[in-house]
Subunit: 183 residues, 2 copies
DNA sequence: GTCTATACCTTGATAGAC
DNA sequence: GTCTATCAAGGTATAGAC
């Protein structure tokens, strides 16, 4: 029954995006949900378990997207991905990759593996999208599709980081330019 | 006399790049230097003071670079910047922007301002370099030079993050491709 | 400038009742 | 599944001697 578990994951997701994994505490979770920290520990014995659950939810969402967007053209799929980041931009939050990869060395092996899995999944998806788009004549770019995927995801991730720090419509400018570059 | 202050800054710089600002402690500083944590507090009353000193050192280094490279061609200057990131890649450390911007919201106003100053300085420098290079015929790219600077710095920053998580020569591939894209 | 000593708080985590 | 109660450990920071 308990959707407390899901509420905890959702809140932890938000906290990771705003404060970072190492800066949020069980109290940051339990207080807003009006429960005690022991209740959080019931669902997630330790913090790494919670972190892993958050990443797994993100991976599941990515897989959902991959499935739902399967019939779309490569450039429509790219637009969908950019739209996800635009949502984050409006909320002034960052992406999980941008939040978790800098702290990678402080994570447990199990959590490191999940971070790796998430990064690989997103990059593989983007590389496929770009390669297919290039073959279909939707995109035009030089070099390996995977390298290009690294650059596109890197720009999307950083646009959120820079936006929070520098203000202005950095996200809009970067996402527009990276789209243009692919035509 | 005491160069303890500088040793503390250097060590803190290293720790920020590996564990992140919120994950390292005064003990991480005092133990390797064989001093007590009170001695660290003597030099830096609170943690934000230390963080600010680290960022100021980075800004000073950037300004040194700007000064020393003034006579170099734009593409030689770009190569110098890439070389700095290559060094970080070899050390498996990340850049300060990549480490500090995700945790931005957890910082004191004074430290946030320094992070902002650092980001602006690097981006302005890169934008000038690119614009000058384009005018001189060294570089060729579409759009605003500042937007391009955002994308170049974003790629350099992310190449270090991805390299640590995914292994392989991601830095080499990304830096090579971004250089090619500017020709 | 560095030490000893310590205050005070927050943290992640556990035991056992309900 | 959630609570009360509690814990040990580690965190930042300060006071005062040397």
């Amino acid at each position: 029954m308990s959707n407390t578990r899901e509420k905890i994951i959702e809140l932890a997701d938000q906290l990771i995006r705003t404060k970072g994994f190492n800066a949020f505490s069980y109290a940051d979770i339990s207080a807003p949900l009006d429960i005690k920290n022991a209740a959080v520990h019931y669902h997630f014995p330790n913090k790494a378990d919670l972190g892993i659950a958050v990443i797994e939810q993100e991976i599941a969402r990515l897989n959902d997207g991959i499935h739902q967007w399967k019939k779309l053209s490569p450039d429509a799929r790219l637009k969908k991905m950019i739209a996800i980041f635009q949502q984050r931009y409006k909320q002034r939050t960052i992406c999980l990759v941008g939040s978790l990869t800098p702290d990678y060395d402080t994570f447990s092996p199990a959590m490191q593996q999940k971070v790796q899995e998430m990064c690989k999944g997103i990059l593989d998806w983007m590389a496929d999208c770009l390669e297919e788009g290039r073959e279909a004549g939707n995109f035009s770019f030089e070099g390996d599709a995977y390298d290009r995927a690294l650059m596109v995801m890197s720009n999307l991730m950083s646009s959120l980081l820079y936006s929070r720090v520098l203000g202005g419509n950095i996200f809009g400018r970067m996402s527009k330019q990276l789209s243009k570059d692919l035509i």
